[in-house]
């Protein structure tokens, strides 16, 4: 029900867009520039890079840079590691947070309150401050400089926030649903299986956040692969690349382009689902 006439609303819309769009466009340009620059640098020759480093138009289209980055500089390996670390650690995070959140929300058991308080209390522990004992632990497990060690360290310390998200969600599920499941004779597992699909929005949020943060994880792979460049992910591999080919900016830009395009595609593809998952149905 509105008291505003169509015409008034239309003029309001036009005015709003006139004010907001230029501002957003300027900010958007600043935000997009480093990306556009990287993609264009990936096609530049070394000479073109030197004379017009800042321009967004490459001096010529050559693909040598991509070949060099992918084959010689080991980007294919970094890329593989990054995908592996992200997929596996996201899966582990999701499983442990969903299961733990479910029982914390639904059941009363000795020590529940203590555990809940501990999780809240350790929500804000900086990774850097506990990385030394984590390192010692992985070392003692004999997993130092292995992919399993990196994955364990990545999915071990995080995830308290995700548990809380699931607790919040499962607490808000109406009790009648559980009652109904019980009346139908569904046991513990069956009930969980019935309720879990309702948590799709939370699952989406956890998957996306954990995937992004593990994709970008720098501190853990750096420390846990100190002796092994071939186990590094893109974030850390970039550093070795820079150390080894300090002047090869075009190769570096090509490697970057290779590494962010797939993620950008994934984001574009899932974008609507994501914003809806986190922010509800954004009317857009």
């Amino acid at each position: 029900m509105t008291t505003i006439t169509q015409a008034a609303r239309r003029s309001h819309t036009v005015r709003g867009n006139l004010i907001a769009l230029p501002i957003l466009l300027v900010i958007g340009l600043v935000w997009a520039y480093p990306f556009l620059w990287t993609i264009s640098a990936a096609f530049k020759t070394q000479a073109g890079m030197f004379t017009s480093g800042a321009s967004l138009v490459p001096d010529q289209l050559n693909f040598d840079n991509f070949v060099r980055a992918w084959v010689n500089a080991g980007f294919s390996g970094y890329f593989f590691n990054t995908v592996l670390y992200s997929v596996v650690s996201t899966f582990i995070e999701l499983v442990k947070a969903a299961l733990c959140g479910y029982v914390l929300a639904r059941y009363e058991f000795p020590g529940r309150t203590l555990l809940y308080r501990m999780i809240v209390g350790t929500l804000f522990i900086p990774v850097a401050s506990i990385i030394v004992p984590q390192f010692v632990l992985i070392e003692n497990l004999g997993l130092l400089n292995t992919r399993a060690g990196v994955i364990l360290a990545m999915s071990g310390g995080a995830g308290a926030l995700y548990v809380l998200l699931f607790v919040g969600f499962f607490s808000s599920v109406p009790a009648d649903l559980f009652e109904a499941a019980k009346l139908d004779g569904a046991g513990f597992l069956k009930t969980f299986g019935l309720i879990l699909p309702l948590a799709k929005p939370v699952i989406a949020v956890v998957v996306i956040f954990q995937f992004i943060s593990s994709w970008n994880e720098f501190n853990i792979p750096l420390v846990f692969t100190l002796g092994q460049p071939d186990l590094q992910n893109l974030a850390v591999g970039m550093m070795s690349f820079q150390g080894e080919y300090a002047t090869d900016w075009t190769g570096f830009a090509a490697g970057m382009t290779i590494s962010f395009l797939p993620m950008l595609m994934i984001f574009l593809f899932f974008q609507n689902y994501f914003t809806r998952g986190l922010a509800g149905a954004t009317k857009g």
């Binding site: 350790t122 004992p133 808000s172």
Partner: protein, 334 residues
């Protein structure tokens, strides 16, 4: 009917077609069941994965950090010698540690103070029905999140380099400078670059947080305000902001804590330089623990602990603010 994910700090799901009167109060105490019989086994099975990883990778390292901090241990061989509180007294007298703490706090406060308001404005704009081109802007603002922070650091290293980087090219074209100047040569300009690049990178995440928070404002309130002829500005200051205030505190908290973790950017952009003037705490810990031989695990642990205490004090201060905000919200009856 839409189901909405809980926003950070608002741990419940609302249905937009539910009237405010029917809304569940924030901390609804669901009658939790007692476990019986076979269910106990399932309960333990469900808790096991989290507990196992949590105890070994969060709780034990916390305890171990405290333990190591009393030893001068290099990480090799048995944990000895015991030095009591000497690590602490050395750190408290270590000017580099204090430089790191100050830098980390300056960084955390500055980034938070800048990124929160602008991401809120962006979120408010991007949730307006009348705005054109929403998917495009969402993508542009969100894109920096998907590149590893170290890469962002390297790209900006190039863009800002004094000889042929974009920044200096632009300044030269406008005739503002006649020779390249190096932003990384001075402590404060280097810190400022760290702050700005970090905002560029993380902005999208906070925009999404705010969008989620804004979803929790009941439409009925806006409708009522529209009937009363309230302007957009009035709606914002009288409805939106008061209601999202408790969530805002949580988002601020997340912002501060995440900023205190800053590491990759510092490594790639400044490596703590010029000299040691942009050291941050995580970099200080890393350098002491893994960056020099012999490793100083004990010393690094003591530094980590001291910083955790500082961070904890800040976070607790925030926690008090949360409680105040929640009380306020009760008064609004939302």
């Amino acid at each position: 009917m839409t189901t909405i994910a809980p926003a950070p700090g608002r741990e419940r799901v609302t249905e937009s077609d539910r009237s405010p009167a029917e809304r569940v109060p924030e901390r609804v105490d669901h009658s939790r069941e007692r476990v019986r019989g076979l269910d106990t086994v399932w309960l333990l099975v469900f808790l096991a994965p989290f507990l196992l990883l949590y105890l070994s990778f969060t709780i034990w390292p916390l305890i171990a950090t405290i333990y190591y901090s009393f030893f001068d241990w290099s990480g090799i061989g048995p944990i000895e010698p015991f030095v009591g509180t000497r690590n602490y007294s050395t750190i408290l007298a270590d000017p580099l540690f204090w430089v790191s703490v100050v830098n980390t706090l300056v960084f955390a406060l500055l980034t938070t103070a800048i990124k929160l308001p602008i991401s809120l404005v962006a979120a408010i704009l991007l949730t307006r029905k009348w705005l054109r081109g929403k998917p495009f802007f969402r993508t542009v603002f969100f894109a920096p999140l998907i590149i590893p922070v170290a890469m962002a650091g390297l790209v900006f290293t190039y863009l800002l380099n004094p000889s042929n980087g974009a920044l200096n090219a632009i300044l030269r074209d406008f005739g503002l400078v006649d020779q390249g100047f190096d932003v990384f040569a001075n402590r404060w300009s280097a810190l400022l670059v760290l702050v700005l690049v970090s905002i560029w990178q993380i902005f999208g995440q906070y925009m999404i947080y705010w969008m989620a928070a804004l979803q929790n404002v009941p439409d009925e309130l806006y409708e009522a305000a529209a009937i009363d002829g309230a302007s957009e500005w009035k709606k914002l200051t009288r409805i939106t902001l008061p209601i999202i205030r408790p969530v805002a505190v949580i988002i601020t908290l997340l912002g501060l804590v995440n900023a205190m973790h800053v590491f990759g950017l510092v490594v790639t952009l400044t490596a703590g330089g010029p000299g040691t003037s942009t050291y941050v705490v995580s970099y200080f810990i890393y350098q002491n623990a893994f960056g020099r031989v012999p490793f100083a695990y004990g010393y690094a642990s003591a530094a980590a602990l001291l910083f955790s205490v500082i961070a904890f004090v800040l976070v607790s201060a925030q926690g008090l603010a949360v409680r105040r905000a929640q009380r306020l919200r009760k008064e609004y009856g939302v």
